[in-house]
Amino acid sequence: MQGAEILLQPGVFPRLLQGLWVTVWIAGVSVGLSVPVGLLVGWLMTLRNPLIRILMRIYLDFIRIMPQLALLFIAFYGFAQAWGWNLDATGACVLVFVLWGGAELGDLVRGALESIPKSQYESSYVLGLSPWQTFSRVILPQAVRRLLPASVNLATRIVKTTSLAVLLGVVEVIKVGQQIIDAHRFEFPTATLWIYGVIFFMYFIVCWPLSIVARRLEKRWAHD
């Protein structure tokens, strides 16, 4: 089709891939850091302490109700002004995605821990297992199974949300696309169609396998 040759121009694809790498890097780092944060938050949420409960509730609800883009703005523009945090756009993205991913994952961890039937703790006690043995040998492996499918889905969402980074000026795949569109706008007036189309499928190719993995895990572990 007319204009599609833009994709074959030297440098175009490699640069898009480089941009995609930035996207994947931000998402990867965010997901990686979300895991410890989420475990901590999840554990805190199972505690009975009323103060911790209220704090966690507020944290979770605020993060859930604010659009991610608004959170990004708050982190990028607001934190610098309010507390003098010197976050660049990439840092702001990672911070927001970790806070967000940590909250969502924390809630999943809490749900998974609370969904383990009481009888599992009781049989372990009767069999003589210590609290730590009970947690590490019996509870945690079960919690992880319940957790994993939803966590992989969450990772997909984080990858998708990385697209917002462009609105803070991060040079990731979309921004690179815009630069290419701009640089070729005289030779290839229809570049937008092709470049945005390619970016669309790039996201798809990153996210789709994750969705498939999540679905597989869900099916496989549906029985317990």
């Binding site: 859930r64 109700i65 659009p67 991610q68 703005f73 523009y77 697209s163 169609l193 798809f204």
Partner: protein
């Protein structure tokens, strides 16, 4: 905190809030319709349509709204299809939301136990009577939490329509930051506006869940 700035620009946020609500409302409405259609096709397993619906759901769930919007807004005109920004935003939201809604609604319909269909049959109900009086109410009850979560998700996602020049809440915020550099005040107004829009939805959602949770107890 510059109160004069806040009182002066609050009306801008009210208007922007309307835009957010307008786009979200029609986006949500369309996604529910689209979701119902897809759920119906999936449950009935209508041959060709089924594959199409599955492909659509995968595409929609695994790509970001921002890219979908860029494609609709900047890409499609190159094929001669020029939609207004509002249309693009609503179509984009519906395209994204349709798949999420269909999964929630399908989950609801599939969660109705088989014995409910059988009881209805034995009691002499026709298929249509059973569906309206027995199956649908239960399916909706199961689906409500998912649907409400999706509504909130879509309203939040609508924040990216600022990228295609729709004057929503994010748009005004960025505008003010860019023009007057009163970052702090603008962000405060941003947070308040979203709370005003989303908190009621969240509360109504919780109430609905409570009211209609008979099928899950």
């Amino acid at each position: 905190m510059d109160w004069a700035f806040i009182t002066h620009y609050a009306p801008y946020f009210v208007n922007a809030g309307y835009m957010t609500v307008f786009i979200s409302f029609f986006g949500v409405l369309l996604s529910i319709v689209l979701g119902l259609l897809c759920a119906a096709v999936e449950i009935a397993r209508i041959p060709v349509l089924y594959q199409i619906v599955r492909a659509y759901i995968e595409l929609s769930r695994n790509t970001p709204l921002l890219v979908q919007l860029y494609f609709l807004f900047f890409g499609l005109p190159k094929l001669g299809v020029v939609w207004s920004a509002e249309t693009c935003a609503i179509v984009g939201l519906a395209f994204l939301g349709g798949s999420y809604m269909s999964e929630a609604l399908r989950g609801g319909l599939e969660a109705v136990p088989g014995v409910q269909h059988e009881s209805a049959q034995v009691l002499g109900f026709t298929k249509a009577q059973a569906f309206t009086h027995i199956i649908l109410p239960q399916a909706l009850s199961t689906a409500i939490p998912g649907v409400v979560a999706n509504v909130i998700f879509l309203v939040k996602e609508s924040s990216v329509v600022s990228a295609i020049a729709l004057a929503d809440v994010m748009y005004v915020t960025k505008d003010l930051i860019g023009m007057y550099y009163d970052t702090y005040e603008s962000l405060t107004l941003l947070i308040i506006t979203y709370l005003v829009i989303l908190l009621p939805i969240s509360i109504v959602g919780t109430l609905l869940e409570r009211r209609f949770d008979y099928a899950r107890r």
